[in-house]
């Protein structure tokens, strides 16, 4: 918390949160992310629009090969089938049965998921309260997964990062067609590149460090960022907008990082 404070003073970012990527989030989270970001009415989801947006994200997820992109495919198929059904004239042959909105199944699932997301949040608060109380034989109990500071997860979605990547990619220059020499960037190279380019403790803006670079370069850099965040040599700060995020070196302020091995 105090670290967060100090960054708040150092940067012009109004509200900054640390982000960690250990938590995988699923297709329902992604849909909720759209609905909430654009303040859509969940009972009247603009399917065409959300399907297009969803698909563009899934393509991006596939491109950066985030683990588990496959789990998004089923939802993509469902969205497309709903979109198709929405286009069909919805007449009722019998006349007495109520016409079922093709979105109903999806909405019901989202609503159900939201309930458990909320329950998980509140159960988390229950755990927080209980964690203030210490019993005898605490060590034997081995507690509730005692975690290192770096394991603390804030509720910021990986989609915020992907959203930022997407904005940057939209602005990125495409490789010019007359370029003959192939420019492949490896994630390893970009890790080194990051270490050379982000040298101070000052948060570095992702969009600035990859400004005017090609898409291949940006994606390789983005992947490299995911890796350096995972191994703990960098931390991510996310501002209030989804336009950008910030990188902070942690191996400088802490010469011997005592990060636990990831699960």
């Amino acid at each position: 918390m105090c670290r967060r404070e100090s960054h708040r003073q150092k940067t012009s970012v109004v509200r900054v949160y640390e982000v960690r990527l250990s938590d995988f989030e699923g297709p329902l989270d992604l849909l909720l992310f759209f609905i909430q970001r654009d303040e859509l009415d969940i009972y009247d989801i603009p399917i065409a629009r959300i399907t297009d947006e969803y698909l563009s994200y899934v393509r991006l997820l596939e491109e950066i090969d985030l683990d588990g992109a496959g789990e998004f495919i089923y939802m993509a198929a469902l969205l497309i089938s709903i979109k198709a059904r929405m286009l069909l004239p919805r007449t009722n042959a019998d006349g007495d049965e109520e016409i079922i909105d093709p979105r109903k199944e999806l909405v019901d699932r989202l609503l159900e998921y939201v309930r458990f997301k909320d329950a998980a949040d509140r159960l988390g608060l229950v755990l927080d309260t209980r964690s203030q109380l210490y019993t005898r034989n605490e060590a034997d109990d081995a507690g509730v997964e005692p975690t290192d500071e770096t394991e603390v997860t804030y509720d910021v979605s990986v989609f915020h990062l992907v959203a930022a990547l997407r904005r940057v990619l939209e602005r990125a220059v495409d490789d010019p067609t007359h370029l003959v020499r192939s420019t492949d960037y490896s994630v390893e190279e970009q890790r080194e590149w990051l270490r050379e380019h982000v040298k101070s403790e000052k948060p570095a803006s992702f969009s600035e460090i990859v400004a005017n670079q090609s898409k291949r370069f940006i994606i390789a850099t983005f992947l490299a960022i995911l890796e350096v965040v995972r191994d703990g040599t960098f931390r991510l700060l996310l501002g209030p907008s989804t336009e950008d995020f910030y990188l902070v070196r942690t191996d400088l302020e802490n010469p011997e990082p005592d990060n636990p091995p990831d699960n």
């Binding site: 949160y17 938590d23 699923g26 608060l125 964690s131 109380l133 603390v152």
Partner: protein
């Protein structure tokens, strides 16, 4: 015989673990022959002890968790004890908390049912929750394919400080959540700014909130 409060205090102090009401009853019966002390008499004795601790400004309180009793320190001492035990914050990741909630509210529940609610595979989360001892397998359901079903454990209730499954926070209706605008990660971010407020269940000993500094 010694007073009930004295016996309870002694057992809870020395046990250093969760003690079921029945264990206390059985112990007293074996020593004194006094049979079947009613639940409310036990509860009253515990309340009396807690009142006394409160008056004396004691470091401990007795809590009723998982249908048993256990002594624990007051919240005001949390930072000292965290330091003493060299502990980090105790948290579960979101995927674990989500999976745990589904098991808690839907138990007994099968893995396909959990996966369906979450929209992702819960294999890892379930395995991890079993390793932590919060979730256990509880046989098979009668549904097609007779899938394994999972329930929460006594340890879950104890580690979360919940008296019994009936005392879980009420599962809220999605409609209400949307109305309150409590949906999604942005509102969760906003809530980070605030001190988390716990709606405390009326447990009979409300010292937690009072001794909060």
């Amino acid at each position: 015989m010694e007073s009930l409060t004295l016996v309870i205090e002694g057992i809870l102090f020395a046990a250093g673990r969760l003690v079921a009401a029945d264990e206390i009853r059985e112990t007293i019966r074996a020593v004194t022959g006094v049979d079947s002390i009613p639940d409310d008499e036990l509860a009253n004795a515990v309340e009396e002890l807690n009142d006394r601790y409160e008056e004396q400004g004691s470091a401990v309180r007795i809590h009723e968790w998982a249908d048993g009793y256990r002594m624990a320190t007051v919240p005001a001492l949390a930072s000292y004890l965290r330091e003493f035990f060299h502990e980090g914050p105790r948290k579960l990741t979101r995927s674990l908390m989500e999976t745990l909630s589904i098991v808690a509210y839907r138990q007994p529940v099968s893995k396909p049912e959990i996966d369906n609610v979450r929209g992702v595979d819960s294999n890892y989360a379930l395995r991890r929750l079993m390793e932590l001892g919060f979730v256990a397998m509880a046989g098979r359901s009668d549904a097609v394919g007779r899938p394994l079903v999972f329930t929460t454990t006594v340890r879950f209730l104890e580690e979360f400080g919940i008296r019994s499954l009936e005392d879980l926070p009420q599962l809220r209706e999605a409609e209400d959540l949307f109305a309150e605008g409590e949906l999604g990660s942005m509102s969760a971010i906003n809530r980070l700014e605030d001190e988390p407020e716990i709606e405390k269940e009326p447990t009979g000993h409300d010292e937690q909130s009072e001794s909060k500094t």
